[in-house]
Symmetry: C2
Subunit: 204 residues, 2 copies
């Protein structure tokens, strides 16, 4: 029995609400609440956000080697001579790249797809930088491709498509291990994960 | 077992994520997802949002009569000669004002508190425009104050405080009726609401 928020009859306020609604996960009521909050309690924050958006749009581009966001021709990771150029970890997004980095266990390079295959949404191989990846891996240095796409349906399909595409090349292609997450109690782990961990069990 | 997103080492991107985090209800991961979405899929939307924020900050101010947001000295509702100046409906926010307007059943004027009393958050009578309201109601035209603050603890306390403050003036002070919402099945209505509706029952 909820109702959509009415227009406020203040054009600049309605325009602000409308542009906040364009954000994913922000519905009409949330957009109105955000707009009121910014105007009422956080005008400096609103100004900062406006400037940050404008600045980001102006300077952020894609790394020519790994496709992630950067302000330079080549991103800091790709340009770092201490990284091992023989390993290339393929992730869906810069957030996933950051997650792998935070583990402090990987010293190779990355390739960021900026998405995953999603035929239902019309997102095919060309939309996720698969051709960029194909050109990237033939630099003569890469020896192993580590597929670190998500373990969702789309991520699995994406990993499968990449493996198929790169199979003709003389590269080792691996996938992150599936199994029981660290710290988990078996009682609370979903059965699919336990089943898979049984199949993939390893010598102790 | 979740982890906070790492900094991306792209200053303009980190600044954007940081300024999105300042929005209420947006945590670090949501902020990163919003930033990636805008850069990847909706650059025009990001530009529109930046401009809408800047424009709104520049032109939006408070109505000198009812305290709501407007681009003019007096808002459209207060300036409308067809509204009944004898009734003044007090609401917490422009969103609440819009909700009352959408009912198409109220033809009086409004006063927007832009908040509610919340002693625990240090929000006292002065922070919610109670002094503005006191000056507003003595225009010689207002006869009835309709308290339409929310039926939350804070909203009830705010209504009570306003009633106390305005009691000395010769005005009729009313509160929105409490009761069973339209379309509700009693079986699913909370007991406090039913109890209150019994006490406030009216001739049928």
């Amino acid at each position: 029995m909820s109702h959509p928020p009415a227009q406020t009859r203040v054009p600049s306020l309605d325009a602000l609400v409308e542009s906040l609604r364009a954000l994913p996960g922000i519905g009409p009521k949330s957009a109105a609440r955000l707009a009121f909050h910014l105007l009422q309690h956080d005008r400096p924050g609103a100004a900062r956000l406006s400037e940050a958006l404008q600045h980001a749009l102006g300077v952020i581009r894609r790394c020519a080697r790994c496709n992630t966001y950067t302000e330079d021709e080549i991103c800091g990771t790709c340009a770092d001579p201490r990284r091992d150029p023989r390993q290339l970890c393929v992730v869906e997004s810069p957030a996933d790249l950051a997650a792998v980095e935070q583990t402090l266990t990987y010293k190779g390079l990355y390739f960021v797809l900026m998405g995953h295959l999603s035929p239902l949404d019309g997102i095919g191989p060309k939309d996720i930088g698969l051709d960029l990846l194909q050109r990237r891996v033939v630099d003569g240095e890469v020896e192993e491709i580590i597929l670190a796409t998500n373990f969702t349906n789309e991520g699995e399909a994406t990993a499968h498509a990449i493996a198929q595409t790169l199979r003709p090349l003389d590269l080792r292609i691996t996938r992150l291990a599936r199994g029981v997450p660290a710290g988990a109690e078996l009682e609370y782990v979903d059965l699919g994960t336990i089943a898979r961990a049984l199949v993939d069990r390893r010598g102790a």
